[in-house]
Symmetry: C2
Subunit: 159 residues, 2 copies
């Protein structure tokens, strides 16, 4: 089945190139960004301002190919792509939880972004701890790597 | 920008119709399901078995239209669609965190599903508390509604 989505807006961030980007929102703390939602979807933003955090779903538009095995930024071992958050996936779709600071018209001011400037937005969902937080007790290869994420920047590996 | 994704597998669950489905994974606790990943993506599942929870990204294939304003299952007030998890979105994309019990070949046994049987799979990501858990202090209209989610079932509203 082929699935067709449309860009519903654009994410703007300080990250103009993939090099030097934080790897996950945890590494992008306090980094400000804006989300410009196309005016035809403005009505859908009603009530969103009641949420402190939102989930952005977006298209890794700079990723040209997919790979089944990747070596993540945070590791030096090759891993199955579905066991990583790497962008070179069969469907290059990304998700990030960001803090929502303010909505002005169809512009969302957000914080804690780990996203490339100009990234096409696909969806916005409210972040709800009751739906989105689970007591994960095993995080695989990340067990030892995750402590190194904060402050870690990406390199050209995923261009 | 038009974005094209491909189905990479199928999600099987006990929910053969939208009526009677749990509304969020929190309401689908212990409900078992399987994820059949197409064999061409088998290699990408390497290392995934180290994670206790995974994020399934999927296409709401039974949703025919999108609406900017919806009345969520958990509420009786109309809300902007982006302030809800309702399926009638501009891009009908769903995300759920499920517990991963076992992987056999390209079949994932999971638990805690709130997904319709036969749903096309778009992506799998590891669930990592450090990336996916945020101290959300405001959950908007859900503040009072969320306590009612457990045990709440869907109706025909989103057909």
């Amino acid at each position: 089945m082929r699935i067709e989505y449309r860009q519903i807006g654009t994410i703007h961030t300080p990250f103009k190139s993939i090099e030097g980007m934080p790897i996950q929102p945890a590494g992008g703390e306090f980094v400000p960004g804006t989300v410009e939602v196309y005016s035809e979807y403005l009505e859908g933003l009603k009530d969103l301002d009641g949420f402190s955090h939102i989930i952005l779903i977006y298209h890794f538009h700079k990723v040209a190919e997919s790979k089944m095995i990747v070596t993540p930024f945070m590791d030096d071992q090759p891993r199955g792509v579905f066991a990583t958050r790497a962008p070179k996936r069969p469907n290059p779709i990304g998700i990030s939880v960001v803090r929502l600071l303010e909505i002005e018209g169809s512009t969302l001011k957000v914080e804690n972004v780990d996203i490339l400037d100009g990234t096409p937005l696909i969806d916005i969902k409210p972040y709800v701890p009751d739906f989105d937080q689970y007591p994960a007790d095993r995080v695989g290869w990340l067990e030892h790597a995750k402590e190194r994420v904060k402050g870690k920047k990406s390199d050209s590996r995923f261009r």
